[in-house]
Symmetry: C2
Amino acid sequence: MNKTISDIAQMAGVAKSTVSRFLNGGSVSEDTRQRIERIIKQYNYVPNTFAQSLKAKKTSIIGTVVPRLDSFATSQTLIGIDEELRSNQYQMLIANTSQDMQREIDAIYDFARQKVSGIILLAAEVTDAHLKAAEDIGIPVLLVGQQHEQLHSLVHNDDQAGYEMGRYVVEQGHREIVYMGVSEKDQAVGIHRREGFQRAITECGECEVKYYETSFKMSEAIATAETILKESTPTIIVGATDNIALGVMKIAFSKKIQIPQELSVTGFGGYDITEMIHPTLTTVKYHYLQAGQVAANHIIRLVKGELVEKRTVLDTELILRESVDKV
Amino acid sequence: MNKTISDIAQMAGVAKSTVSRFLNGGSVSEDTRQRIERIIKQYNYVPNTFAQSLKAKKTSIIGTVVPRLDSFATSQTLIGIDEELRSNQYQMLIANTSQDMQREIDAIYDFARQKVSGIILLAAEVTDAHLKAAEDIGIPVLLVGQQHEQLHSLVHNDDQAGYEMGRYVVEQGHREIVYMGVSEKDQAVGIHRREGFQRAITECGECEVKYYETSFKMSEAIATAETILKESTPTIIVGATDNIALGVMKIAFSKKIQIPQELSVTGFGGYDITEMIHPTLTTVKYHYLQAGQVAANHIIRLVKGELVEKRTVLDTELILRESVDKV
DNA sequence: CTGAAAGCGCTTACAG
DNA sequence: CTGAAAGCGCTTACAG
């Protein structure tokens, strides 16, 4: 039922190679151009993408690997990628790996098999298997959210984020400080963010902070926070993510601890939800949407063989809201 | 660099048609099978999907059209679809339309061009253009979240959800009831959900409810709620979605109206966030993940030409939490 | 500017 | 069970 290039050629009274040339912007006579154009419009002809790809051995598709779909950061980044890709006539293919490392690796190979032109990898952790996969496939790969010297990467300035939050906490007079972080396997969040924070604490001179490790899951954050509040009486708890901060707020509410009067709380991320709740959460905003746009832009340039800086760092922004009190 | 079926055939000392037959589960002698298998494994051969699709004129891809990526409902549904598709060897392609109706239509045609086997359409509104597109392409389409007699559809039981919430509100003794709904263009939410609620109110006999229309955006919900609270003093505000309820809570907090002591609030959806906040929100849980799984299952059956009920309705579940007081 | 021919990597009847 | 041949719908040198 769909017309092929041969049909169009025949109806326009030319050879199919001429139609192909027209389609691909080659030079054809004015007369031919008009005839072909008319027929194409009339039958609403669109080239078969498979046949094109089979010849070209490549596509205009960028594959994006995400660890999970139900996170603010992922959604926003994907939207940014999609927008930018679309306006450059690229398509986005999404592979969700549900935080399964092996599926992440598989997804990279799968994308290669489908001849995507480039891959954007939103990974929480970069292993040797990731590096090997990236090397094996011979397709540009861009890492987002983490960095690695062997890969092009785009990161948020976690060090700055941590540092600014640290300075603010110190400035507000807090001295009983607790920081709830995550595993160092996630270098960006587990190491850089925390180290930035620590830097501010160190500069303070007289300040100290107690570190606890928890996970990205709110249920675990709640459990950890409960333990913390049993063992000590911090004036502020800094959650390494907004979700962790939400967990802290939750346990505080149930223990009738007033925020921020009795306990200040902060997060990182700048999720929409942080300004919907009460009190609104002081946090560091990460520009996920922009990250997505820049990522798309970079991968396209890599695909075209253009030069792209090996590592791009996006600024973050401290957002002061209601969940922190001065002591 | 990638091996083709000819390479494999040659190395195995057979014809490529034999390799193809082997690949597609046709009968080959034990001896041949082993030889081919060995070579394939050795070179890690994977068939070129374009060539396959070009011949087959179809793919194992299901296209999913979503109005937005940054919504709990969408994320959960997508995860469900992805899971189920994956375990049936299908792939998911996502097209995000950013709530742009035209892009929704375009996406349907685009998918058809890419020869997806089926399309899952998460639309808030079904127009004639949608119906025409579905008809034009000659590919199975499954509507999720809305229903239409011309299309296979999968919906949540909005009527039941509304009704149960209505009964609960009445049982709790509320008589100053406000319902904040959305446009009737969204039939599921704008009409069915509200009508279910109204049914419970009508059955009550002595009850009444004032309806206001707002939008899915929290900022608008906040504005609408503010107006409502200026004009009247309801004992409960029922938001047609959790986001609307969140908007109500937000304005209540800022006006120092205690929830639920001075004002009860409820929503619909069962978003994760509703149990992270304080007070936790009484709502009706929609089983989005399951909806995604069922949707994937149905579209696969439609693709295979199997019989699928025209309309499937998923139960909802009233979740009682802290945001409602008895009066 | 235009067209005939070869070829991309598969699959599918059709013979044998 | 196996293989030669045709064909899916394009693009790309190569002649003219």
